[in-house]
């Protein structure tokens, strides 16, 4: 079943990815963003909204920015407020936000605040780790099911509709449930609060919604004797905060990509890259499996022409993740079945790509997306496409398989769409269970040739990107055909240079804990 893969080329690609990402590591060390600081506050337990529905973390950070103290980090200010007021962190934060606790910037006060911040961060992280450990046990006890994991989305806009639908899907065999976010949430520079019922094309990601869904799936999982994974979206202007909420509420996965926000939401590249670094430090520590978004490239670019851009980007995402201390088993690198259905031998090219990705990232839980772009409103037709998609999934051993929905071209899924999707996947996975053991691919065939071509083109592209630098390359549209200038997009105003006294004790602790992984050299799977 293995394809011949040139391991030298793969190693070269990984070296290029190191060269590409290295300049940005320095940038991350010098910068922070407003959402990172809000994430720090959330890690300390700051939550809730004021009477105008503005989250307290936002209020605090705005206040710090207004008073010119943000560049030292929110942790110090919170420490100062707690120590000065003697209140608990939440009350202190609320007071701080309202400008009630006057800043005492004496070196002494700062020193004490740093100590408080550091030791409280350790305590909070320990609590989080203990929580994750308990969940991991629960998951191990129940078992997460064989791969390909059947992943379905719920997206009603109303968490109280989402819950029974997610449970229904889980009963029908879904291994992973994703709650899609409302159109536009990713461009909000705050995380909404509480249970929400008014999303469009998805449901707002909030801590309360996470908790409700997690609880519903846990209850059902216990009843069924099977663990159901929960995931949500961390890309966007609040990536680190969503990550904190996901960690606190026990999510198993997060959509988390270094470049998605830049390309598909026109978020400024420095903002998203800085955010993803902190976000991934936390994901690594909490064992949250990330899903990257290269699949999206093929929704705007052609899958045959631009297949190699997916692979190049996976190498970059992999390196960014390693640099943030994530091990391979947490990297759900994304790709998709988006070849035009009218392509002669399109299926062969899909097999080539899926198998190549599988072999190049042997320890990564690959995320595989169904046909979307070429899907039409002919729902029968869609079901046929999804059948071949599922076949290639089980044939090439993809890990996280998003199931194609009947009404992809129409509206977010009906309950029956998920049912039919799961029925299709169960049929195909079982009916073709051991097909992969039956096949040796012709080493000079179209499939082998296509996989060689994609790898060659990916290396060539990485060379170009390494030459000009990632930021410039994105500026001229190497991925998804989308051009993003370095100073364009949303959210750049939320990025700031760290003061020499800047403190983010969570980052320090996490980085220290995961330093070893950042040095790792990934090995592709050798062909026998």
């Amino acid at each position: 079943m293995k394809l011949p893969v040139d391991l030298g080329k793969v190693a070269q690609a990984r070296d290029l990815a190191i060269a590409i990402t290295r300049p940005l590591q320095a940038y991350f060390a010098d910068h922070s963003t407003i959402t990172i600081e809000r994430a720090v506050l959330r890690l300390y337990g700051i939550d809730g909204v004021d009477e105008d529905e503005v989250p307290w973390p936002n209020r605090v950070v705005e206040q710090l920015a207004a008073s010119g103290r943000l560049d030292r980090g929110a942790a110090i200010a919170l420490g100062q407020a707690v120590l000065a007021s003697g209140r608990d962190p939440q009350e202190a934060a609320e007071a701080l936000a309202s400008g009630i606790i006057p800043p005492d910037d004496s070196p002494e006060s700062c020193g004490e605040a740093r100590d408080w911040a550091r030791s409280m961060a350790r305590r909070k992280l320990d609590e989080l780790m203990a929580f994750r450990a308990r969940r991991r046990e629960m998951r191990a006890a129940l078992g997460a099911g064989p791969t390909p994991w059947k992943y379905v989305i719920v997206a009603t806009g109303n968490i109280h509709e989402d819950v029974p639908q997610a449970q229904l899907a889980a009963r029908q065999g879904a291994d992973v449930v994703a709650v899609i976010r409302s159109t536009g949430q990713s461009l909000l520079d705050y995380v909404p609060f509480g249970h929400t019922t008014f999303g469009t094309g998805g449901t707002y990601a909030t801590g309360a919604n996470f908790k409700l869904m997690r609880q519903a799936l846990d209850e059902l999982g216990a009843e069924m004797g099977r663990y159901v994974q929960l995931t949500n979206y961390a890309s966007g202007l609040c990536m680190p905060e969503i990550t904190v909420l996901a960690a606190q509420e026990g999510l198993d996965m997060l959509l988390n990509d270094a470049l998605y926000g830049v390309l598909f939401r026109d978020i400024n590249i420095y903002r998203t890259l800085t955010d993803q670094h902190f976000s991934r430090l936390l994901n690594a520590a909490c064992g949250i499996l990330i899903n990257t978004g290269e699949d999206n490239y093929l929704t705007t670019a052609d899958a045959f022409e631009e297949g190699h851009t997916v692979l190049s980007s996976q190498f970059i995402n992999e390196r960014f993740a390693l640099d943030a201390g994530m091990a391979e088993n947490l990297m759900g690198l994304g790709h998709a079945f988006e070849m035009n259905p009218g392509t002669e031998d399109g299926l062969l090219y899909e097999i080539a790509m899926a198998q190549l990705v599988r072999q190049v990232f042997p320890d990564s839980p690959i995320k595989w997306m169904p046909p979307t772009k070429h899907v039409t409103g002919n729902v029968f037709w869609t079901y046929a496409h999804n059948t071949l998609y599922n076949l290639v999934g089980v044939l090439t051993d993809q890990t996280i398989e998003l199931l194609g929905m009947l009404t992809e071209a129409v509206h977010t899924p009906f309950a029956s769409d998920r049912y039919l999707a799961l029925k299709n996947a169960d049929y195909v996975f079982n009916y073709a269970r051991h097909l992969q053991d039956e096949i040796t691919w012709n080493p000079d065939g179209r499939i082998a040739q296509r996989s060689r071509q994609v790898l060659d083109e990916a290396v060539a592209l990485l060379e170009e990107v390494a030459d000009e630098g990632l930021v410039k390359a994105i500026g001229r549209g190497v991925f998804a055909g989308v051009k993003r200038p370095a100073d364009g997009g949303k959210g750049l105003e939320g990025v700031f240079v760290r003061h020499s006294t800047y403190l983010n004790p969570f980052e320090d602790l996490l980085r220290a804990g995961q330093a070893a992984i950042a040095q790792r050299v990934v090995q592709p799977e050798a062909t026998p």
């Binding site: 997206a155 009603t156 109303n158 109280h160 509709e161 819950v163 029974p164 639908q165 249970h195 409700l212 609880q215 519903a216 039409t376 409103g377 002919n378 729902v379 029968f380 037709w381 009404t407 071209a409 129409v410 509206h411 977010t412 899924p413 009906f414 309950a415 029956s416």
Partner: protein
């Protein structure tokens, strides 16, 4: 904590992605070429059904002047599910041994049933599933029952032949299986069967039972049968019904 709504069973609506949203998927063809007028015609087909917001999602020309459509639409009138009463064959579900024991105990004799696919229908898999020894999906057929003598005449048996044989064997029940329903072929054949049984004067002393993929108890009784069995029936259903009905009749 969770505010999950519950359906109102007196007013049940189709469920798309929101309880009671009334969403239904449709597909059909119209004998017109594809185009904006065809799209509007397809929408009007739904509007004439009283649907709200017909949404055309696929329009594909199948050939000159024939177009295939997929639409979604919204039903607004609910169904009173709580007050639906579907006639069902009345019997207690028993397994093979319980039925054999019941027959032995209460009737004290072997039952005789004669089955066939009447008329031009040649689909024997259903009647075989009910009658043949090996049965179907792990449920033994009537031939296996200690207290039942089961005679399966197979396919394409003229109704006259079926009734004649049933009389000859002194049957307690006639079992008919009808699969072809095109142009209501099954209705014609079944009506004939019952008429012949009546003409032969045996309708009173022989149960008439019918099964098939489009059969319901309601339809069967309308056609003058004692019971009807649809998809997913097994030998023990019909055996339990026959045994209990004969016991009921004996005690009257």
């Amino acid at each position: 904590m969770s505010l999950v709504k519950q359906p109102d069973l007196t007013h049940v609506l189709p469920y798309g992605d929101t309880l009671d949203d009334g969403k239904v998927q449709f597909s059909f063809s119209l004998p017109v070429p594809a185009g904006p007028e065809a799209a509007e015609a397809a929408r009007r087909v739904l509007l004439q059904m009283g649907l709200k917001d017909p949404l055309l999602v696929a329009m594909e020309e199948m050939g000159p002047s024939t177009t295939f459509f997929v639409l979604y639409g919204t039903v607004t009138r609910g169904v009173d599910y709580a007050n639906i009463h579907v006639p069902k064959a009345e019997f207690e579900h028993l397994d093979m041994h319980e039925i054999d024991d019941l027959v032995e105990r209460e009737l004290g004799r072997e039952l005789v049933v004669v089955g066939a696919c009447p008329g031009s229908d040649a689909h024997t898999v259903g009647i075989d599933a009910i009658m043949n020894m090996k049965g179907f999906a792990g449920h033994y057929g009537l031939e296996r029952y200690r207290q039942i003598r089961a005679i399966n005449l197979g396919a394409q048996v003229p109704p006259e032949t079926l009734v004649a044989r049933a009389i000859e064997e002194g049957a307690d029940a006639v079992l008919a299986s009808v699969v072809v329903t095109q142009k209501d072929l099954h209705i014609t054949t079944l009506t004939q069967l019952v008429e012949i049984m009546e003409a032969e004067g045996v309708r009173g002393r022989m149960l008439a039972i019918v099964g098939g993929p489009r059969m319901t108890h309601e339809l069967a009784t309308e056609l003058g049968f004692d019971a009807g069995f649809g998809p997913g029936s097994f030998a023990e259903d019909v055996a339990a019904f026959v045994a209990q009905e004969l016991i009921r009749r004996q005690s009257r």
